[in-house]
Symmetry: C2
Subunit: 139 residues, 2 copies
């Protein structure tokens, strides 16, 4: 049954909105399995490659790391296993995202403070410059 015409790397790229170089990169780092080659040494992809690359791209859109994508793909292969491991990967990622949001919110607060102090005078009296100067970092 796998007699459909194989996909070239360019076909796969446009089907998944991925750059050709990215697909080759995924192969290099073990996210996408190396496909068969034609007589002219072109990569020849099948439907399963398309499926896995789509999966991976969706995961990357959600900013899972490539390591996590590899893990998720492997987990998704064991159709009969519990999906708790999948859940765990997703939760870990969510926690990271939440931590990052908290960090950035703190940063936003500091920047707003800084900017709020600007009196639009000269640099010599600039609060922003002064706030960044030595011995004022913690203040």
């Amino acid at each position: 049954m796998p007699l459909e015409t194989p996909l070239s790397i360019g076909d796969l790229a446009s089907a998944t909105d991925t750059k050709v170089e990215t697909i080759r990169w995924y192969e290099r780092v073990g996210v996408l399995a190396a496909p068969a080659r034609t007589s002219g040494n072109y990569r020849a992809y099948g439907a399963e490659h398309l499926e896995r690359l789509s999966f991976g791209r969706h995961a990357r859109d959600l900013e899972f790391s490539l390591d996590q994508v590899r893990d998720l793909l492997q987990l998704a292969d064991d159709r009969n296993q519990s999906c708790d491991a999948v859940d765990r990967v997703a939760r870990e990622h969510l926690e990271q995202v939440e931590r990052k949001i908290a960090d950035l919110e703190a940063l936003r607060h500091e920047l707003r403070d800084l900017i709020g102090q600007c009196r639009h005078g000269t640099v010599a009296e600039c609060r922003i410059v002064r706030a960044l100067a030595p011995d004022r970092g913690a203040a």
Copy 2:
């Protein structure tokens, strides 16, 4: 008046909580001016280097880019100029941070949705896996 004993790169590093390699890196990319050298070719820093590196590190703590740090340092030199340019750099950075927070909040929402659908069954019926699979990305 610049007759104080100069600082070695290690002194500067511990004074600013910066790795030695990072200081050399800042020199390479033009964030910190190359200092004088001793007879043994050691870098010999003065008070002005300490000041500028402290400034730069504070700015980096606030996640200004190195490009922005370079700009801020240059702006901070023109003591008589208006500090509007400084203000502009800070506002630009704040906007970037706010955009990133918004992006991550949207991401958090998607991830929570995804995880909330997990019924802890097998991978075959896993909602997370299914959500990532082809033709379900936008749903």
